[in-house]
C-alpha cells in the first residue's frame, strides 16, 4: 500500500493521518515538537460556522457546513478507535446583539442561511434571557441557532492522537523543523532522519510560509495570535456570540471567553491589553462575571491566509505533495472535512463539495 507522510501533528495533520490510515495507507506523522501543542490545544472548540459566517453562501460556507455535518460520525469513530471520550455538546448558540441596528443584519443572515436548511430563530432580549439567564439586560435581541455545538479541544486532540496510534499510524515527535529535499518529491528531512512518503502532506499551520522556497509557490499564511481566558463558572447552556467575542461553558465547569486577536509574530504569550479587553467585555455580556477573575489565560497562533480561505489540495506541479493549512479560526471545525478532501485528493476520488477556491495555486507572487 502507498505511504502518506504528514508534516504537522496538529488537529489537521492528525485528522488527515487518521482518515488516510482508515483508507488503508501506511501513515507517518512528523511533528516538530509535541502533537496538539500549538493552536489545536489552545482552541475553544466551537463548531459554529453559522454564527461566524455572516456574509454570504460562498464555497467556504459550504466547506464549514459539510464539516459540521460530518462531525457526529467523526467523533463517534474517534471515540471508538481511541477508547477515550471527550465533551461534544450539541448545545446550540445565541448570537446576541446590543443594538437595534444589528437586527437587519441578523435578519439577512437568517434569510440566506435558511435557504441552506439552517434553522435559526430571532429572539427578543427577554426571550434570549429566558434561554440564557446570565445574559445582560442590555442584550437587545439574539439569533438562536440550535445546530451549533462545541467540543473540548484538548480532549479531542488527545483522543485523535490515541486513535491514530491504535490504528497503526506512526507518530514521530520532536522531529525539529522538517524540510523538503531538493529534487526529491517523496522525501522530508528531519532531525530524526529522512522520512519517505509516496505522498507528503504539509499541515504546519502558522508555520506554512516556510515551504514557499521548497515548493516555489506563494503560500501566504500569517500567524495571528488569539488570546483566551477561562473563568471558574458560572455555566452557560449555549455558546454566546457577540460582535466583540464569544463565551462557551465547558462540562468541567469552566467558562471560556475569547478571543483577542493581534499581530505578534510567533509570540504566544498573553498581554495585559488582550486579556483586559476580554474581561471588560465579559462583564458587559455576563454581569455575573463582574466579581470574577479568570483563573487561566493562554494564547495560540491562528494560521490566517491572505484571502481568509484555507489552503487545501495537491500542489499541481509536484503532485506527490499536498497542503492543508490556513484554517485560521476554524481548524477544529474543519478537521473532518479537510481529512476527507486530502484523502480524496490522494485517492483521486471525486470531492463532495467544490474545492477550487481552496487550491494552493490560487496565490501568485505579486
Amino acid at each position: 500500500m502507498a505511504s502518506v507522510s504528514i508534516v504537522g501533528g496538529g488537529v489537521i495533520g492528525l485528522s488527515i493521518a487518521y482518515e488516510c490510515r482508515k483508507r488503508g495507507f501506511e501513515v507517518t506523522v512528523i511533528e516538530s515538537g509535541v502533537c496538539g501543542g500549538q493552536a489545536s490545544g489552545a482552541a475553544a472548540g466551537m463548531l459554529a460556522p453559522y454564527s461566524e459566517i455572516t456574509e454570504d453562501p460562498d464555497d467556504f460556507f459550504k466547506l464549514c457546513q459539510r464539516s459540521l455535518n460530518l462531525y457526529p460520525d467523526w467523533v463517534e469513530h474517534i471515540m471508538q478507535s481511541s477508547n477515550e471520550s471527550f465533551e461534544f455538546s450539541n448545545c446550540g448558540s445565541l448570537y446576541a446583539i446590543f443594538h437595534e441596528a444589528d437586527l437587519l443584519s441578523l435578519e439577512a443572515k437568517k434569510r440566506w442561511q435558511s435557504e441552506y436548511g439552517i434553522q435559526s430563530y430571532l429572539l427578543s432580549g427577554d426571550e434570549a434571557r429566558e434561554k440564557e439567564p446570565l445574559l445582560s439586560d442590555d442584550v437587545y435581541a439574539a439569533l438562536w441557532c440550535p445546530a451549533e455545538s462545541h467540543i473540548y479541544a484538548p480532549g479531542y486532540v488527545k483522543a485523535l492522537i490515541q486513535a491514530c496510534r491504535n490504528a497503526g499510524v506512526s507518530i514521530i515527535e520532536h522531529a525539529g523543523e522538517a524540510e523538503l529535499v531538493d529534487g526529491e518529491p517523496h522525501l522530508v528531512s528531519t532531525d530524526k532522519g529522512l522520512i519517505k512518503g509516496d505522498f507528503i502532506v504539509l499541515a504546519t499551520g502558522a508555520w506554512s510560509q516556510n515551504w514557499e522556497k521548497g515548493l516555489n509557490c506563494s503560500l501566504p499564511v500569517f500567524p495571528i495570535r488569539g488570546q483566551i481566558c477561562a473563568y471558574d463558572g458560572p455555566s452557560l447552556s449555549h455558546i454566546v456570540f457577540t460582535s466583540q467575542g464569544y463565551f462557551v461553558g465547558k462540562e468541567n465547569g469552566t467558562l471560556i471567553a475569547g478571543a483577542s486577536e493581534d499581530i505578534a509574530g510567533f509570540n504566544t504569550s498573553v498581554t495585559e491589553h488582550g486579556i483586559n479587553r476580554l474581561e471588560s467585555w465579559s462583564k458587559k455580556v455576563l454581569p455575573d462575571l463582574r466579581e470574577e477573575r479568570p483563573f487561566h489565560k493562554w494564547a495560540g497562533l491562528r494560521p490566517a491566509s491572505q484571502d481568509g480561505f484555507p489552503i487545501i489540495g495537491k500542489v499541481i506541479e509536484k503532485p506527490s505533495i499536498l497542503i492543508a493549512s490556513g484554517h485560521y479560526r476554524n481548524g477544529i471545525l474543519l478537521s473532518p472535512v479537510t481529512a476527507e478532501i486530502i484523502a480524496n485528493e490522494i485517492e483521486e476520488m471525486p470531492q463532495e463539495i467544490p474545492i477550487e477556491s481552496f487550491r494552493p495555486e490560487r496565490f501568485q507572487f505579486v
Binding site: E55, I97, H99, E100, A101, D102, L103, L104, S105, E107, A108, R111, P220, F222, I224, S243, Q244, G245, E261, D262, I263, H273, N276, R277, S280, W281, K284, R302, A304, S305, Q306, D307, G308, F309, Y328, R362, F363, V366
Partner: protein
Amino acid sequence: MNDVLTIGGKQFDSRLFLGTGRYPNPFVQNQSIEASEAEVLTFAIRRVNLNSPDEDAILQHLGDKTFQYLPNTSGATSAEEAVRIAKLARSSGLSNWIKIEVSRNDKTLLPDPIETVKATEILANDGFVVLPYTSDDPALCYRLQEAGAAAVMPGGSPIGTGLGILNPYNIELITEELTVPVIVDAGLGSAADVTKAMELGADGVLLNTAIAKARNPVKMAEAVKHAIKAGRLSYLSGRIPKKKYATASSTVNYISK
C-alpha cells in the same frame, strides 16, 4: 499640484474612504489600510464597542496612526434610528462625522431616500459633519446638499455587489451640479470602476468589499490608490471627444521631406 480634498474643514491628500469590514484577518486589514494610504476609515457603529473603542475587535488593530473616523449608521431603518446611532457615536468620543446609511431592505440594502434626507437635516443642524449614502438620483443628491450634507455619497450599485457604476450618466450629472464633494460609495468592484468614478468627476470613492474580499487585498488596495490618482488626473486633464472615424496620430505636417 496641490490637489487636496476638503470636507468639513479638514484637508486630505488621499481621496479614498476605506471600510473596515470583511477583511480576512487583522494582519491583512492593517497592511491593506497602509497600502491604500486612506486617511478616512468607516465602520458600522452597531458593531463597535462604544464603551471602549480602543478595545474594539477591529479598531484596536489600527494602533497609533491617526485617521479621520467616519462611523456609519448601517442597520438603521429610519431617520430616528440613524439620529440615535449618530449621537451614540459622538458621545463615545469616536467622531462627529457621520455617514448616514438608512435602509429597509436587507436584501438590496438600497438607501431609503426620504429617511436619509430627514436624518441629514436633523444631524447637520445638530453640528455633525454629515455624509449621507444615497441613491444616484441627481435631484435627491441636490436636496441632500441643501439639507446640510458636508459631502454626498451616491452609490455606484448596491453595497458589496461589485457591479460597478450602473448609471454613469447620473453620477456625472451629480458631480457637475453639486458644490459639496461627491464621494462615489458602494458597488465598486475593481480598479477600473474606481478610475471610472474619478473620471466622471467624483471627488473621492468609498470602498470596502472590493479590497477586503480580493484574493490579495493588500495589492488591490495599492491598485485602488493608483486608480484614484489615474482617474483624477484624467478628469483634470480633460479627455478627448469621442469621434466616429479615425484621425491619424502622425499628421502630414510632421513628416520630414
